[in-house]
């Protein structure tokens, strides 16, 4: 009988085998169905294995393979934390494969996707399983490169090549930071096994450096502001099922890396560390959702919203660090549970929303919301599940997004018990930022749903949209039901997460699933409790009462008539609320400062028949100030160094000679 970790590795090997098979089959007609079908089966098996390991709570399970560095080998380990993230990865992978069974048929060049899709999943699985720094970094790079290849699938479309380039740059920067972090962790002895790193004490200065490097390394992959710039470019560029995996799952693998190093390997934290994580998370949440609000490309909007959710997760992690530093382990486990719960939730609803955006893209060919509208009549099932995704991500009950954000605010409310005044003041401020982000997220998804699915079609393509195939619908329906399930039975999820907090913080929330009427009481009854079932029943009853009342007191006859056009008899669909006009009030409030937004009105003189023009100018200040300057500096430096590229032969020899003599001189003077 295989051990649990060996079984997971067999699944990974199977995924790699499918990747090789996909290369061989790439020109065959049945390749799409075959590859995605096989990936679906393998991911489902891996999911079952991960869930069994998580729920059985049998402790860590290790294996050493004789590959990799000769003196180290490749260590793999399956503990509760890894099992949870494996479950997230493989759930996302399985459902994305199911979706791709239908969606993948529309791919023009399947040979560009098929080999890399299973390889990408294998990479993510391996990162989570890795138990030494070398395997970790190797698998991390493998994951990055596989996802880069997927981003470059449609490399001839405008902007995608640049997206791939920026992604590659940021990924290598992130890996560099991780490399340095592991170098510091391994210490002068250079023992790269995680077990040895865990056992070693780490000096405070070193621990702070590692934390900063992890924020840079894992943060750049997860999309922390200001390292997020690649994410809204790269995630939408990939095919939609891959976008869902990148946004819903790969960012979570980065979160896993952060938790593994900062909570597990680094030992007890310092409370100042949490300040950095909290503030970065808060800024990321608000900036991410503001970017999303100003966006009119549906997939880019979703990618920006991923940044917001990553911010929320990092705030939870920062809270957990703050509580843990003060030995308030119950509160810390509440914050960590909120973070992990949100990781799970976000992987569900962000995949769902990307699938929905992919369905819209397939049936209309448009990502730009200015060309959508009225899809609720033509794609009824997609509209319902997309609505569920929107409601869940906007953190409205009875769906799962509400539960995790509620848990997070419960943790925020525990902050007065922290002894440090800095944290006492800061945490409520971060909580206010999160409340702002939650409200803006609701506005953002009202915009996304309202403009795309309601209103009248804004283009011919949207008017002629068709419902998508059954595989895609099945994948979305499964995700929507999981969102509802996790919202109504949050106690089950919290209980499943308790082995993880037990492992990392040595503390767990009380068991929830035996509480009457499916309530959850994370800390104490008087602190607050939530009952998803009650909320659902209340919503159902009040909605049916309202429906009955309307049906009772109004006319039964359905009349179809022209919409009132404000006096303009022939309003064109473009005159409806557009994504830009919906966001205008919020843009005026926040945009002037954060995006240097300027509105220009160009009014023709009286008597002229030219149309008046209104234009908005928005600057991405992060991109222009930070990255613009870095790019400028690199440009200048490379121009200066360019002269050294084309020397004469004697010039090169002299250069070598001069370098040698200089080094010798340095040695002679210093030694």
């Amino acid at each position: 009988m295989l051990t649990a970790v060996a079984a997971q590795l067999v699944c990974v090997a199977a995924l790699l085998g499918i990747a090789v098979l996909a290369v061989a089959l790439s020109r065959a007609k049945a390749a799409t169905a075959l590859v995605y079908g096989a990936t679906l089966i393998v991911c489902a098996l891996a999911l079952i294995g991960a869930l069994r390991a998580l729920l059985a709570g049998t402790g860590a399970d290790e294996i050493v393979l004789p590959i990799g560095l000769p003196w180290l080998g490749a260590h793999f380990r399956l503990d509760a934390l890894a099992a949870f993230f494996l479950a997230v990865v493989n759930l996302g992978g399985a459902i994305a494969s199911l979706y791709a069974l239908g969606y993948g048929r529309h791919e023009h060049a399947p040979q560009r996707v098929l080999p890399f899709f299973p390889a990408f999943l294998a990479g993510m699985n391996l990162v989570v399983l890795a138990d030494d720094a070398f395997s970790y970094l190797l698998c991390w790079e493998f994951m990055s490169l596989a996802s880069w290849a997927l981003v470059m699938t449609h490399h001839r479309e405008p902007g995608n090549a640049r997206a791939g380039y920026v992604y590659l740059l940021m990924a290598s920067f992130g890996t560099l930071a991780l490399l340095l972090a592991f170098g510091l962790l391994a210490g002068p002895a250079g023992d790269y096994g995680f077990a040895a790193i865990r056992a070693m004490p780490h000096a405070p200065g070193e621990a702070t450096m590692v934390l900063i490097l992890m924020l840079l390394g894992a943060g750049s992959k997860a999309g922390l502001v200001p390292l997020h710039v690649w994410l809204p470019l790269a995630h939408p560029a990939a095919p939609s099922h891959v976008s869902a995996l990148m946004s819903g799952v790969m960012t979570k693998v980065a979160v896993y890396g952060f938790i593994r190093v900062v909570f597990d390997l680094l030992g007890p934290p310092n409370w100042t560390a949490s300040v950095l994580v909290l503030s970065l998370g808060g800024v990321t949440a608000v900036m991410g959702i503001l970017y999303a609000l100003l966006e009119k490309d549906l997939k880019r909007l979703l990618a920006y919203s991923t940044i917001e959710n990553i911010g929320i997760i990092f705030v939870c992690l920062g809270l957990a660090l703050a509580f843990q530093a003060n030995n308030q382990t119950l509160a810390a486990s509440l914050a960590l549970t909120a973070a992990l719960f949100h990781v799970f939730n976000h992987s569900l609803f962000k995949s769902l929303l990307f699938f929905g955006a992919g369905a819209v893209l397939v049936s209309t060919g448009a990502r730009d919301m200015d060309k959508l509208g009225g899809l609720i009549h033509r794609m009824p099932v997609t509209s319902v599940v997309f609505l569920i995704g929107c409601v869940a991500i906007a953190a409205l009950p009875p769906f799962n997004g509400f539960v995790s954000e509620w848990l997070m605010f419960q943790a925020v409310l525990l902050s007065p018990s922290l002894p440090q005044w800095g944290l006492k003041i800061m945490v409520p401020a971060i909580g206010a930022l999160l409340a702002l982000a939650a409200a803006l997220a609701a506005a953002c998804f009202v915009k996304a749903y309202g403009v795309s699915f309601l209103s009248r079609p804004r283009s011919e393509a949207a008017a002629n949209a068709q419902e998508v195939d059954h595989f895609s619908l099945a994948a979305m329906v499964i995700l929507a039901s999981l969102c509802l399930f996790a919202g109504i039975f949050p106690g089950l999820v919290i209980d499943a997460l308790s082995p993880v907090t037990q492992q990392i913080l040595d503390s767990r929330l009380g068991a929830q699933s035996h509480l009457p009427w499916l309530s959850i009481i994370p800390i104490a009854e008087r602190r607050g409790s939530y009952n998803g079932l009650l909320v659902l029943v209340f919503i159902a009853i009040s909605a049916s009462l309202g429906y009955l009342a309307i049906r009772r007191f109004s006319s039964h006859a359905v009349r179809r008539g022209p919409a009132w056009g404000c006096g303009f008899s022939d309003a064109v669909p473009q005159a409806q609320y557009s994504p830009d006009s919906f966001a205008q009030p919020l843009r005026r409030v926040f945009g002037t400062l954060l995006f240097a937004a300027r509105e220009h009105v160009e009014m023709p003189p009286p008597g002229s028949v030219k149309p008046a023009r209104f234009s908005v100018e928005i600057h991405d200040l992060v991109w222009e100030t930070l990255y613009g300057r870095i790019a400028g500096a690199v440009d200048t430096a490379s121009k200066r160094l360019d002269r050294w590229q084309l020397l004469t032969i004697r010039g090169y020899l002299s250069l070598v000679f001069a370098t040698l003599v200089t080094l010798l001189l340095v040695l002679a003077i210093w030694s």
């Binding site: 084309l646 004469t648 020899l653 002299s654 000679f657 040698l660 003599v661 001189l665 002679a668 030694s671």
Partner: protein, 220 residues
Amino acid sequence: MHSLDFDISHSLAGGLVLISFMMLYQDRLYSLLNVFALHAVTLSLAVTWQAFIQDAPHLYVTAAIALVFKAIIIPVALHRIIRQLGIHRDIETAVGIGPTMLAGMGLVALSMVLMLRVTAEADALAREDLAFALSVVLLGLLVMVTRRNAVSQVVGFMSLENGLVLAATGAKGMPLVVEISVAFSILIAFIVIGIFLFRIRERFDSVDVAALDESRGERR
């Protein structure tokens, strides 16, 4: 103490440095080749002496290789090449002799200072040897840098390699296989460079490396 051993090896290595200096001011190709042959002969003498005092018979092989290849085959072959290319009347004018000699002295001083300081624990013989060897290497590089003719750059390269062999034999316990492989790699480098010389010549009617730069479209 083997004071005589020390003195002889010291004077042989010092002679090598001196001959390196002689290379710096040769402006005729034939005389440069002759000096190079002398360099190689001195090297083989130094290595033979090392073999004798270290009681290491394999160093005799090294000395024989140095004598046969570097003192006979390569100079003779280069002589032929120069005759075939018809450049035996060329005069080198890259950098003036005075500055070159001054630079050479500076390099020797540098390597002395450096080597005597970093090898404080090694025995006196190895220290001196290493310091001289580094001087020879640096002077070889200086020859390569200050010459414009490809043939004399080859000679500079070969004399640089002589310095490496001197260092290798001064350090006790260097296996023979390393020295033989170094010698053969030098021979192969010589063959490749020789072929290149003819190719360059075919193409540009000159072995002045400046012609290569012009062909890349660069102005000087």
